[in-house]
C-alpha cells in the first residue's frame, strides 16, 4: 500500500519535502535520513513486520557505518557485498531454499514460521550492493555519512525503487534546483497522474486478474483465458508504472530527479528493446552488476547465451522466492538468447517496413504476456492454464 494511503502524504511527503526545501544545504541530507528512518519505522510497525520489522532499521544504520570503510580494491567492500547477500538470503530466500531440501515445513530445521520481509529489502539491498561494488572499482566517491544515509534512506524510492546509483544521486542532492515552483508543479502532477492510473486502471483490472486461479481456469470458457492473462499484462504495467510515477513525482517535490523506470515497453518490437524500456533501473542494474561482470557480450558466443540465461535467472529469483519466478526469468533469458541469435544470423538485416515490424511487435507482445502466466501463478496452475488454453 503506502503510496495510496493518506499517511504517506500527510505525515511524510509534504512535511519532509517542505522542511527539505526550507533548510540549509548542509542540513538537507539529514532531513532525508531522519524522515527516512521515521518512514521505515512507521510503515514497518503499521503494515509490515511489526516491531521486529521496525528493528530492521538497524540494517540501514549498520550499512551507513560499514560503508565508511569501503575503499577501492579493499576487502571490506567484499564484506559489504557478502553481508548484503546474506540479508537477502536470510529474510527472502531462507524458507524457499531450505524448502528445496526439506519440502515439508515441519521437517525443515531451518524453516522460519513467522518469516517477514523488511520493508523494501529487494530494492535497498541492490543499492547497497551497487555502492560496495562501485567503491571497490573506484567508480563512485564516498560522500559523507549524511549524504550516504540520505541515499539509502530516501523514502520515495526506498520501498520499490527506482533503484538509484550513488554517483547519480549525490550531485543532485548537493545542487538542488532553485526553481521550486517548477519542481512542485511537475512533482504534484506526476503523483496525481500515478494515483489516477493506479485507481482507475490497475485496480479495475483486478476484477479480471482475480480469475487466474485453478478453480476459475477449470470452469472458464477457453476463449476468455487469454483475456485474463492480457488483463494481468496490462495491470502489472499500469500498476508498477503508476507506482514509479508516484515515486519519481515524490522525489521531484524534493527537487531530486531519480531515474525513470518505464519508457513505453509494450510498444517495443523485440524482447531486447522490451527489457531496455521495462523496469529500466533494474535492467540496467542487472546489466552492470551481473551480465557485464560475467563477461557480457565480449566472450565466445555460447558464453554470451549462458550469461543471458544466468542474468535472467537472477532477475527471476529477485522477483520472488518461488520456482515460478525462476521459470519466468529463464523464459525471458531464452527469449533474449533467441533474439540475439536471430539478430546475428548470417545475412540478417533489420527491416524498416511496416508489416515485418508489426509482426515483430505482435510476437514480442504475445510472448511477454504469455510469460506473465509464470509470474502471477504457481507452476502447477500456469501449466494447467496452458493445457486448457491449448488443448481445451
Amino acid at each position: 500500500m503506502i503510496f495510496n494511503t493518506w499517511d504517506y502524504y500527510v505525515l511524510f511527503l509534504v512535511p519532509a519535502a517542505l522542511c527539505f526545501r526550507l533548510a540549509r544545504a548542509s542540513v538537507r541530507p539529514w532531513i532525508i535520513a531522519f524522515s527516512g528512518c521515521l518512514f521505515f519505522l512507521y510503515f514497518s510497525l503499521t503494515q509490515l513486520g511489526g516491531a521486529i520489522g521496525a528493528a530492521c532499521l538497524l540494517i540501514f544504520l549498520w550499512e551507513s557505518f560499514i560503508s565508511r570503510f569501503y575503499k577501492p580494491a579493499s576487502w571490506i567492500c567484499w564484506v559489504g557485498v557478502v553481508q548484503t547477500i546474506l540479508f537477502l538470503v536470510v529474510f527472502k530466500y531462507r524458507n524457499f531454499l531450505s524448502g528445496l531440501i526439506w519440502p515439508v515445513p515441519q521437517q525443515n530445521p531451518l524453516y522460519w514460521r513467522n518469516a517477514f520481509l523488511p520493508l523494501g529489502i529487494s530494492f535497498f539491498t541492490f543499492e547497497f550492493l551497487h555502492y560496495a561494488w562501485d567503491r571497490y572499482r573506484n567508480k563512485t566517491e564516498t560522500g559523507n555519512v549524511g549524504e550516504y544515509m540520505a541515499f539509502i534512506l530516501f523514502f520515495p524510492t526506498m520501498v520499490a525503487g527506482p533503484i538509484k546509483r550513488y554517483q547519480d544521486f549525490l550531485p543532485k542532492l548537493r545542487a538542488i534546483p532553485e526553481d521550486w515552483v517548477l519542481d512542485a508543479q511537475r512533482g504534484f502532477t506526476r503523483v496525481l497522474a500515478g494515483l489516477a492510473k493506479k485507481f482507475a486502471i490497475a485496480d479495475l483490472l483486478t476484477a479480471y486478474t482475480n480469475h487466474l486461479n485453478i478453480a476459475d481456469i477449470a470452469q472458464a470458457h477457453r476463449a476468455i483465458l487469454p483475456l485474463w492473462l492480457l488483463a494481468y499484462g496490462i495491470k502489472i504495467y499500469v500498476d508498477f508504472s503508476a507506482y514509479s510515477d508516484i515515486a519519481v513525482g515524490s522525489a521531484r517535490l524534493f527537487g531530486i530527479k531519480v531515474p525513470e523506470n518505464f519508457d513505453w515497453p509494450y510498444f517495443q518490437t523485440n524482447i531486447t528493446d522490451f527489457w531496455r524500456h521495462w523496469h529500466i533501473s533494474l535492467s540496467s542494474w542487472l546489466l552492470d552488476y551481473v551480465f557485464i561482470p560475467l563477461g557480457g557480450s565480449r566472450v565466445r558466443v555460447p558464453r554470451i547465451y549462458a550469461n543471458l540465461l544466468v542474468t535472467m535467472f537472477i532477475s527471476g529469483l529477485w522477483h520472488g522466492a518461488g520456482l515460478n519466478f525462476i521459470v519466468w526469468g529463464v523464459l525471458h533469458g531464452l527469449m533474449l538468447a533467441v533474439h540475439r541469435w536471430w539478430r546475428h544470423r548470417p545475412g540478417a538485416v533489420p527491416s524498416a517496413q511496416f508489416l515485418p515490424r508489426a509482426f515483430s511487435w505482435l510476437v514480442t507482445f504475445v510472448a511477454v504476456n504469455l510469460a506473465w502466466a509464470f509470474f502471477c501463478m504457481d507452476i502447477h496452475t500456469a501449466l494447467f492454464y496452458f493445457r486448457r488454453l491449448i488443448v481445451g
Binding site: M1, V159, A160, L192, K235, D273, A358
Partner: protein, 64 residues
C-alpha cells in the same frame, strides 16, 4: 522514441500531462504557467482518483 507505434507527438503530450517532461511538445498550446489549465487538470485527476478510490489493492511490486 523507439518502438512499433511512432506517434511521438501523442506520447510526448501524455508525458507532459503526466508530469514526466518539463517542456510541452512543439505546438502544444499549454505552458506550465497556465494555472487555469493545470488547476482544471488537477481537479480532473483528483475526481478520477476520488471516483475509483476505495477499491485499492496492494501495489504488485512491493515485496512480493
Amino acid at each position: 522514441m523507439t518502438g512499433m507505434f511512432r506517434i511521438p507527438y501523442l506520447q510526448r503530450v501524455m508525458e507532459y500531462l503526466a508530469g514526466e517532461i518539463d517542456a510541452p511538445p512543439e505546438g502544444f498550446p499549454v505552458a506550465l504557467t497556465n494555472f487555469q489549465f493545470w488547476g482544471l487538470w488537477w481537479c480532473i485527476l483528483v475526481g478520477v482518483i476520488y471516483i475509483f478510490s476505495g477499491q485499492s489493492s496492494k501495489f504488485i511490486y512491493i515485496d512480493f
